[in-house]
């Protein structure tokens, strides 16, 4: 009965979506409800933020370098290699910084959260929390979501900076451009797209709204798949894979729509 199968699959899909949004809504709502698991939030900030620093530094630096290297080839055609800082900065702050930090954290932290919560589910630790009178969403999901919402923008700022620094390395040692010229073009690029509230460059807003949203996506998706793990240790593996795949795809798709919206709002 293919029609019934499609019907059932559609119902399951809608139900899962409803459960996901319910979980995400509760997790965010609990940020403002006592008791506050402050120690858990700081522990998660350490795991998500400090723990991901190395991988973000590496990807940011090499992305900045390769970006400068690739664009230098094109810019040489027009004799415009002086503007390499402009290109690297624009790309890193608005697009590559948030997306790369998001993808890296989805791979490293998202999988970790899904595996940890999945293991807790299959070893009945989630049920144990429930029976001990603790809401697992409040104890486990909210600290992770809050930590990701705070740390993703922080990681993105670091990612942007080391990326631009990587561009500087190429500009100086490969193209022979003085650092002062590079950093001046970086500064000018930051101011190009106008300001919000007179002082905040619009590029910064675009570059920080995205990782904030990505942080929410990664943490809630990971917690959703982790908490809904079934089928023992094999199920933990499935949840981990699903988390990384779903979060990565969502980051790229949401990035597009978010860019559309932000451009519509901030383009004069």
């Amino acid at each position: 009965m293919p029609l019934e199968t499609i019907n059932d699959a559609a119902k399951r899909g809608v139900y899962s979506l409803q459960e996901y949004f319910e979980l995400a809504g509760k997790a965010i709502g609990f940020i403002f409800v006592k008791p506050f698991y402050t120690a858990d939030v700081f522990q998660q900030m350490d795991t998500i933020g400090v723990g991901s620093l190395g991988i973000v530094l590496l990807t940011g630096f090499f992305t900045g370098m390769v970006l400068a290297l690739q664009t230098s080839v094109q810019l040489q055609t027009f004799g415009a290699t002086d503007y390499i800082g402009t290109l690297v900065t624009g790309s890193m702050i608005r697009e590559l910084g948030p997306v790369l930090a998001g993808l890296m954290v989805a791979g490293r932290v998202g999988s970790g959260i899904a595996a940890q919560l999945g293991s807790m589910r299959v070893t009945e630790q989630i049920d144990a929390l429930n029976t001990l009178g603790t809401d697992p969403i409040k104890k486990l999901v909210t600290p992770r979501v809050l930590a990701a919402l705070i740390m993703l923008p922080v990681l993105t700022i670091i990612n942007d900076f080391v990326g631009i620094l990587g561009g500087n390395v190429i500009a100086k040692y490969y193209l022979g451009k003085p650092a002062s010229l590079y950093w001046r073009t970086v500064y000018e690029q930051m101011l190009t797209n106008g300001f919000t509230l007179h002082y905040i460059p619009n590029d910064f807003i675009q570059g920080l709204v995205k990782p904030f949203v990505f942080g929410g996506i990664i943490s809630t998706i990971a917690c959703y798949f982790g908490l809904n793990t079934t089928g023992g240790t094999e199920g933990v593996g499935v949840s981990t894979t699903r988390t990384v795949v779903t979060a990565s795809i969502l980051i790229l798709v949401v990035d597009y729509f978010l860019t559309q919206v932000i451009l519509a709002i901030f383009t004069p």
Partner: protein
């Protein structure tokens, strides 16, 4: 607030442990052979005392109120799980639920914990219908209960101390020294070497030790109800005897009402005030172990096998 005052605040605390309990095991037996010998002696005593001792433990049904009761409970997912199930555990009783795999024993535990809601019928705790409680109210009702899971379900990111202290930190205003005193008291109750295990992680413990820490965590808040899911599964005979002994000790010394889901008929008969036999999603028998062994019902005879 002293520890004693903190203890008085807890619901359901009935009776302090008797200091002169002759059947109590030595608390700090560092020599494992001595521990094993003590367990053997204890179980032999329990077996010898037999029905007479069980009768002493078993309260008179008429005078005691029902602490846990299921009334005409039915539940189905894709197919029926429970059909018209009714039984009651009175104050201080240990009701053991036995039955074939897949007959819905663990579902009853989830209904009592209000992790599941029946489609029909009522589940009452202390006479209060918990079927229609909100999620937050259900969390409060769960604080009356201590649950021991099949695999102990200790939080593996926490030490033994933090595990047992967890419910106290969550639901009481006890100071840290009072919490530590309570944790030590509970770990001593389950006959663990407190100083040795306190800072150990769950991964460093044996199966039996995990189970005992699980019992200590379940009873940390002095609950009036203890629930056990397969407390003796996967344990060697001596550890099985130890855990069985602890459940009997909980009933005798603290007057706790227990509901146990088990496959282990031998230990069930040792600990049970009443046995509920689930057969084909219904209660096939509910009564004392003696009534069960004396039954002529062919299914019960077949289920008990050679016991």
């Amino acid at each position: 607030m002293s520890d004693e005052e903190g203890r008085r605040k807890q619901p359901g605390e009935r009776r302090q442990p008797s200091e002169k309990d002759e059947t109590a095991m030595p608390r700090r037996a560092h020599d494992s052979s001595r521990v094993r010998a003590a367990i053997r002696t204890e179980l032999e005593e329990v077996a010898e005392e037999g029905t007479e001792e069980q009768e002493k433990i078993r309260p008179t049904p008429v005078t005691k109120p029902s602490v846990i009761s299921l009334e005409n409970v039915s539940l189905a997912f894709d197919e029926p799980v429970l059909e018209n199930v009714s039984f009651a555990a009175k104050e201080g009783e240990t009701v053991v639920c036995v039955g074939e795999s897949g007959t819905g024993k663990s579902t009853i535990l989830k209904l009592i914990l209000r992790l599941l809601v029946p489609e029909q019928g009522r589940v009452c705790i202390d006479g209060e219908d918990i079927t229609h409680l909100t999620f937050d109210d259900a969390l409060k009702v769960r604080q009356k209960m201590g649950m021991v899971f099949q695999g102990a379900a200790l939080f593996d990111s926490m030490t033994v101390y933090e595990n047992v202290a967890y419910p106290l930190r969550e639901h009481t205003d006890l100071r840290e020294d009072e919490i530590e005193a309570r944790v030590r008291e509970k770990l001593e109750f389950v006959d663990l070497e407190v100083d040795k295990v306190l800072d150990q992680m769950p991964a460093e413990l044996s199966g039996g030790m995990k189970k005992r820490v699980g019992i200590a965590r379940g009873m940390a808040n002095n609950p009036e109800i203890m629930l056990f899911d397969e407390p003796t599964s996967g344990l060697d005979p001596l550890t099985t005897a130890t855990v069985t002994y602890l459940i009997i000790k909980l009933q005798r010394e603290l007057g706790v009402t227990s509901f146990v889901v088990s496959h282990d008929i031998r230990s069930s008969f040792r600990m049970a005030s009443k046995i509920a036999l689930l057969a084909h999603h219904r209660i096939g028998f509910f009564g004392t172990p003696e009534e069960m062994t004396g039954s002529d019902d062919p299914y019960i005879r077949e289920f008990l096998g050679g016991f």
